[in-house]
Structure formats: structure tokens, C-alpha cells
């Protein structure tokens, strides 16, 4: 009984490290495939469309609501100190530094990451990847690398859109409904949001999230057990693991950027 528990644990541990190893190997292979995409950038553009552009709707709608909530919450807190003029700063800093990159990455994992895993997993299950190999076309270079690059490119753009729409949402609520002065909403924002400290750091975050989420999604897809059940489990794992990875990495990155 105890022996079998230990054995089970050992097996789980081994499986985990094997998967970790395969994941890193795949990452290196994908990176090695990226230079080959330069002459065939059309493949990447096509993927930016299906990974990025098709995530736009959910990003814009979520960004708007998050910005509106920030406007409301921020106003209620600031008004106690008579500082509601600074609403623009609160909204924009929360978005650019934190919520923009993080919420975008979470939504991206759910919208694009799961779709990537399911697509790759099904291609594996229906032997399309195998067939490509036999046609002397390396599926890592032809299928995975363009999708990876597309995720890397799309994430910061989506996060920027999210933040911009969020700032507008805060404006509608703060200035439009609650009567904050329009001039100070924008001018305080302009004065306090720093290009290097805030915007660049936010962009770095979303680049890191883009790499991690896309990598997890592609790995789960290509490592899925080639059956419908295997693919559905891999899809779930993509969403769970990449969301956790985003939140964990966000803490680490925030500590490094704004900690000391």
C-alpha cells in the first residue's frame, strides 16, 4: 500500500520532469525555426490574424468594463481625500502596469491558447503532423514556429489596446458620469505616467506573458495524447497552467521592476 503510493509519487515526479524536459526541448526547436520564417512572413501574418485579431472583441469589451470599474472604484476612494482630480492617474497606472498585461494574458490564454492547443492536438490525432514529417516538412517549423511568433507579436498589441480602451472606460465613468474635471483627468495622467517606468515595464510584462502562454499552448497541443479525450485534457491544462504561470510571473516581474 505505502510502497505503491511511493511508487506512484515517483512515477508522477518522473513524468513531470520528462514533460518539463520535452517542453524546453520544444522551445529551443521553435526558436531555431524562427529565422526560417523571415522569407515566409505570410505564414506569421496569417497566424497573427487567427491568434490576435480574432481575440480583439473580447479584449476590447473586457478592457472597457475593467476601465469603467476602475473609474468607479477609484473615484469612490479618491473622493474621500478630495483627490478625485487624480482619477486619470489611478486608472491609467493600474491598467498600464498591471491589469493591461495580466488580464489580457488571462483572456488570451482562454481565447487563443486553448484554440491553439486544440488545433495542434487535433492535427496530431488525425496524423496531419505525421504526414507533414513524411512529406519532409518539419511541423515545428511550418506549424509551431509561426504560431509562436504570432503570439509573441500579438500579446503586447492586445495589452496596449486593452489599456487604451480601459482608459476610455474610466473617462466615461469618471468624467462623463461622476463629474471629474476633464482637463485634470488627462493632464494628470500625462504628467504622472512615465514612459520608461510604466509603459516599457508593462510592455516587457506582456512580451513575457506572450512567450509563456503561447509556449504552453503549443507544447500541450503537440504533447497531447492523440485522442479526443487527450486533446480535451490538454486544452484544459493549457488554460490552467498558463493562467497560473501568468499570475506567478507577474508577481516576480513586479517585484523586480517596482520592488526596491
Amino acid at each position: 500500500m505505502i510502497l505503491s503510493v511511493i511508487q506512484n509519487l515517483g512515477q508522477k515526479g518522473l513524468d513531470f520532469f520528462q514533460r518539463l524536459g520535452r517542453g524546453h526541448l520544444l522551445f529551443v526547436q521553435i526558436l531555431a525555426g524562427i529565422p526560417g520564417l523571415i522569407p515566409r512572413f505570410g505564414l506569421v501574418i496569417q497566424q497573427v490574424f487567427s491568434v490576435g485579431v480574432l481575440s480583439m472583441v473580447i479584449i476590447v469589451v473586457s478592457g472597457l468594463f475593467v476601465g469603467m470599474v476602475l473609474g468607479l472604484q477609484g473615484y469612490n476612494t479618491l473622493v474621500d481625500f478630495g483627490a478625485e482630480e487624480s482619477l486619470g492617474v489611478v486608472v491609467s497606472l493600474s491598467l498600464v502596469r498591471e491589469l493591461g498585461p495580466v488580464v489580457t494574458a488571462l483572456l488570451f490564454a482562454g481565447r487563443a491558447g486553448s484554440a491553439l492547443t486544440a488545433e495542434i492536438g487535433l492535427m496530431k490525432a488525425t496524423e496531419q503532423l505525421s504526414a507533414m514529417e513524411m512529406m519532409a516538412v518539419d511541423p515545428v517549423r511550418r506549424v509551431l514556429a509561426p504560431r509562436f511568433l504570432a503570439g509573441f507579436i500579438s500579446m503586447p498589441l492586445l495589452a496596449a489596446i486593452f489599456s487604451a480602451v480601459g482608459v476610455l472606460g474610466g473617462y466615461f465613468v469618471g468624467v462623463g458620469l461622476l463629474g471629474v474635471d476633464e482637463g485634470s483627468y488627462w493632464s494628470q495622467m500625462q504628467a504622472k505616467v512615465d514612459l520608461y517606468n510604466d509603459i516599457y515595464n508593462g510592455v516587457i510584462k506582456s512580451l513575457v506573458f506572450g512567450i509563456v502562454v503561447t509556449w504552453i499552448a503549443l507544447f500541450e497541443g503537440s504533447d497531447a495524447i492523440p485522442t479526443s479525450e487527450g486533446v480535451s485534457r490538454a486544452t484544459t491544462r493549457t488554460v490552467v497552467h498558463s493562467s497560473l504561470a501568468v499570475l506567478g510571473l507577474d508577481f516576480i516581474l513586479t517585484a523586480l521592476m517596482f520592488g526596491a
Binding site: E127, Q128, S130, A131, M134, M135, A136, V137
Partner: protein, 277 residues
């Protein structure tokens, strides 16, 4: 033209392959002769598809060697292996068409990946290949709109798009009506003879396969149990060959996947865990 030094395009020697605990191949020796059609036959689940994957370098044998055109496939590096695969065509058992492209783009896929031909020429080549399998009119259908037999014919057109040296067909005849079956049989023969290909056919369809195969290997239980031309096999003493070619249920070939004794399994009732759910 290259002068073929070796009459065998593929040479398999003492090859062993294990999957989990199951020995799929246990010391297989097999030669594929240049310019001939070689059939590999055997009961379902003996590892015919696995053998094609081993020849294509997608799986590696646990022992022994597999030489293709004088190169040991399991020892080749990534680049050399992909170079070799450009000269191999493989028809997958289920077609394995790329589902995000239509029929035309599927057949054009290897041409676009490996050549820099102008689009007009690619168009002509693709339509020619599709015409050969009788599906020129279906060029704009998506794979989801094809029947199983049609998918396999499109996959055949795709496999021959690059004019390979070796064609491997995994069950080309299943799911074909008598007319397309006849066309396929003739097509495989024509391709082989006109283009100087070497063909390997994996199949259960005894009549069709025997009608075109120049040489036949019968596999069972991880071993080659008989080989020879169709006539030689007819005259062979091997009970095994006789049973398989005549399709008798009684004989040395097991119909069942290796299992516990049937009566014991049935009587054991609740004491035996049949499924681990």
C-alpha cells in the same frame, strides 16, 4: 540517370521493435527490390503500419538496421533524414489531409514547400495529379466534405506530387468502390512502371494485392512467416500462408489479440479487473 548499385532500395536486417511490453517485430529480415511492387500482408495489428513508419524514420528500431538507399535511417540526422524523405511518398491509412486547406492546396502543399515553381505550373501539376485519381472536379472541396475513399485518393495525389522514388501505400484499397479500386490498382502499376518507382503496398485485400504485387511478404507475430511471388506462395508448404491467402479462420494465424484463456476470463467474474476505471 544514376546507376543503381544496389538492387534493394530498402533492406531490413534482424530488426526488433518493442512498444511498451509488446514485441511488435522480433528479428525481421526484408528486402524491397528496386522498380518492383512489394506487398506486405498480415493480419490486423501485426505492425504493418508500424513497419512503414520505421522505414520512413518516424520510429526507431530497438535493434537491427533499416537501410534505405544505402543510408541507415535510424542513424540519420535531422537534415539528412528530411532530405531522404523528399524522395519518399507515403499514403496514410486515413489520408491525413491537412484540414485547413482545400483539396487543391493539399496537393499543392509539398510542391509549394519544396520547390520554387511558378504558381501557373503548380496549378497544372496539381490538376494533373488530381486527374490521375479521378478527382480533378473536386479541387475546391474541403477535406471535411470528402468521403473516406475520396480523401485517400486525394492523399495519393498529394503523395505522388513530388514524383518520389519510393511510394509506400498503407491500405490503398479499403473504402474504394469496385470502379475506383480498379482504377487505383492500374494507377499504382502505371506509376510504378512509367516513373520507375519502387512501391510498397500494405494491404489486406488479397485479390487486388496479389494481382499487382511482384513480391509478397507475409507477416505474423513479429516475424516474416512466408515470402515469395504470388505463385510461389500458392505452392508454398507454409500452413500459415495457405490460411491467410484463403482466408480460413482455422489455422496457425490467431484472429485474437493475445489474451488470457477465454473460459478463465469469463468465469473469473468480479475477481478480475477488466478495465481500470
Amino acid at each position: 540517370m544514376m546507376t543503381p548499385a544496389n538492387p534493394h532500395v530498402v533492406e531490413v536486417r534482424q530488426m526488433r521493435f518493442v512498444r511498451g511490453k509488446r514485441m511488435i517485430f522480433d528479428g525481421v529480415d526484408l528486402d524491397i527490390q528496386r522498380g518492383k511492387i512489394t506487398a506486405i500482408m498480415g493480419p490486423s495489428g501485426t505492425g504493418k503500419t508500424t513497419l512503414l513508419r520505421l522505414i520512413g524514420g518516424q520510429l526507431r528500431p530497438d535493434a537491427g538496421s533499416i537501410m534505405v538507399e544505402g543510408q541507415q535511417v535510424d542513424k540519420l540526422g535531422h537534415t539528412a533524414l528530411y532530405q531522404l524523405r523528399k524522395r519518399m511518398g507515403m499514403l496514410f491509412q486515413n489520408g491525413a489531409l491537412l484540414t485547413d486547406m482545400n483539396v487543391f492546396d493539399n496537393v499543392a502543399f509539398p510542391l509549394r514547400e519544396h520547390t520554387k515553381l511558378p504558381e501557373a505550373l503548380i496549378r497544372d501539376l496539381v490538376l494533373m495529379k488530381l486527374h490521375a485519381v479521378g478527382l480533378r472536379g473536386a479541387w475546391q472541396l474541403m477535406p471535411s466534405e470528402l468521403s473516406g475513399g475520396m480523401s485517400r485518393r486525394v492523399a495519393l495525389a498529394r503523395a505522388i506530387a513530388l514524383d518520389p522514388m519510393i511510394m509506400m501505400y498503407d491500405e490503398p484499397f479499403t473504402g474504394q468502390d469496385p470502379i475506383s479500386m480498379g482504377v487505383l490498382v492500374r494507377l499504382i502499376r502505371q506509376l510504378n512502371d512509367a516513373l520507375g518507382l519502387t512501391s510498397v503496398i500494405v494491404s489486406h485485400d488479397i485479390a487486388e494485392t496479389r494481382s499487382i504485387a511482384d513480391y509478397i511478404y507475409l507477416l505474423s507475430n513479429g516475424k516474416v512467416v512466408a515470402h515469395g511471388t504470388s505463385d510461389e506462395l500458392d505452392r508454398s508448404e507454409s500452413e500459415w500462408a495457405q490460411q491467410f491467402l484463403k482466408g480460413l479462420s482455422d489455422g496457425p494465424v490467431p484472429f485474437h489479440y493475445p489474451a488470457e484463456d477465454y473460459r478463465r476470463d469469463m468465469l473469473a467474474g468480479e475477481n478480475v479487473v477488466v478495465s481500470n476505471r
